[in-house]
Amino acid sequence: MHHTIEVKDLRFKYPDGHEALRGVALSIAPGEKVALVGPNGAGKSTLMLHLNGILEVQQGEVCSCGLPVRKENLGKVRSAVGLVFQDPDDQLFSPTVFDDVAFGPLHMGLAEDEVRRRVRDALAAVDMADAISRVSHHLSVGQKKRIAIATVLSMDPEILALDEPSAGLDPRARRGLIKLLRKLPQTMLVSTHDIRMVAELLPRTVIMDQGRVVADGSTPQILSDAALLEAHGLEAP
């Protein structure tokens, strides 16, 4: 069992010189569901992009599922860590829903029967089985978000890294999404501004600000510390 994320002293500078991560340390145990909160520009998305090697580690160390995120491991790491982007229009790039959900499994080199089975299972898991042959442009934002999650579930990942899953959803779609995330068994790291969802869904909270982890603890404890939340531009639920 290596369903873990280990980040040690991770530093990252964008080409324009902006220092997005300044020594991030984070360790997530198997099966944990962790919220990643903090103001815009705190480095949350940059950290997420490191977890399966979209951004190359410049300094420090990242291990996903026990594998160091390096060139030779990228294939394995990418099938173990499912990264769901904020804008589902970025995630759903294929002509039909089926093609999108099949994209990951196909690139894992699975047999076609297995790919088809995984696509059906993943769509069933997000309650979108009927949408299999639809065109993603014609779906609602809530439906697109669900399918975006299905596109990584079909790869059977051990870790899910979700960027702003509840952003832009109406209350009903948001409620449905929370229900869906609750029943998924994977280790989860959820970057979000939705503090109410954090309180409801994720037992552990990590606050990032200015490229560093500034607080890490149980959600009830962190959310009851009004001074801490205030200092990092967050609101108490």
Partner: protein, 230 residues
């Protein structure tokens, strides 16, 4: 195939043209779109046939009329009429195809016809993101419209200034498209993309598909025969 057959047909084989036109009507009937669907939409392509408008004046042959200082020849007129009819019928068939076959199936078809993979992918991505981009430009224009109030003084600004605004909008649209393409690429890489676009194998060709294909080929061969013999 249909388009190719109609292109090969010699000028002035009216019976063959009539058969092709009949075929589009029958096909339209079968698809359930109604006979007028493609007919109405095909008129948008007619102006392109005007590129051949000079033919009656330039092709040498028997003079049938004078038009200003120009002479109109019978051969030229026949050729013009043939080109217009042929392109019009072909456009109708193409409209029927794109209207009834989902884009997905057309992409399958392209792939099976050995169109290079990257090209097929580009068409697929284009279709997927055309609407997203159109929405984005719509939002930009709305944002401009929403702030284009009329004040007490002279409103609207100078032409140069308005031109600069429009240029800025076009630029920002391009930047957004560029950034989106980077995010899409990230999303592909995150799911294991290594540079080759993979696809599932094609759907199986059924007996009825095969019969339809044989039927079409026979019909088109017959039309060609009629066109060349009569």
């Amino acid at each position: 195939m249909f388009v190719a057959a109609s292109t090969i047909l010699p000028f002035g084989s009216w019976l063959a043209y009539f058969l092709l036109f009949g075929a589009t009507l029958v096909a339209a009937r079968f698809t359930g779109l109604g006979t007028t669907y493609a007919l109405r939409r095909s008129f948008v392509a007619l102006p392109f046939a005007l590129a051949a408008i000079t033919l009656p004046f330039t092709v040498p042959g028997q003079t049938i009329a004078h038009f200003g200082g120009l002479t109109v020849t019978a051969e030229g007129s026949i050729r013009l009429l043939s080109i217009v009819i042929k392109s019009w019928v072909s456009v109708q068939m193409a409209i029927l195809l794109t209207a009834t076959a989902p884009v997905h199936d057309l992409l399958w078809g392209m792939r099976e016809l050995r169109v290079p993979r990257p090209l097929v992918s580009i068409v697929g991505f284009m279709y997927r993101y055309l609407f997203v981009l159109a929405d984005e430009s719509l939002r930009l224009m709305r944002a401009r419209a929403a702030r284009s109030g009329v004040g007490a003084g002279r409103s609207g600004g100078s032409l140069v200034w308005r031109g600069r605004v429009a240029g800025g909008m076009a630029g920002s649209l391009m930047l957004r498209a560029f950034e989106r393409s980077e995010r899409i690429y990230d999303a592909m890489v995150a799911r294991g993309f290594k540079g080759d676009i993979l696809a599932m194998s094609s759907p199986v060709i059924t007996d009825s598909d095969r019969n339809a294909l044989v039927g079409w080929v026979t019909f088109l061969a017959m039309v060609l025969l009629i066109g060349f013999v009569f």
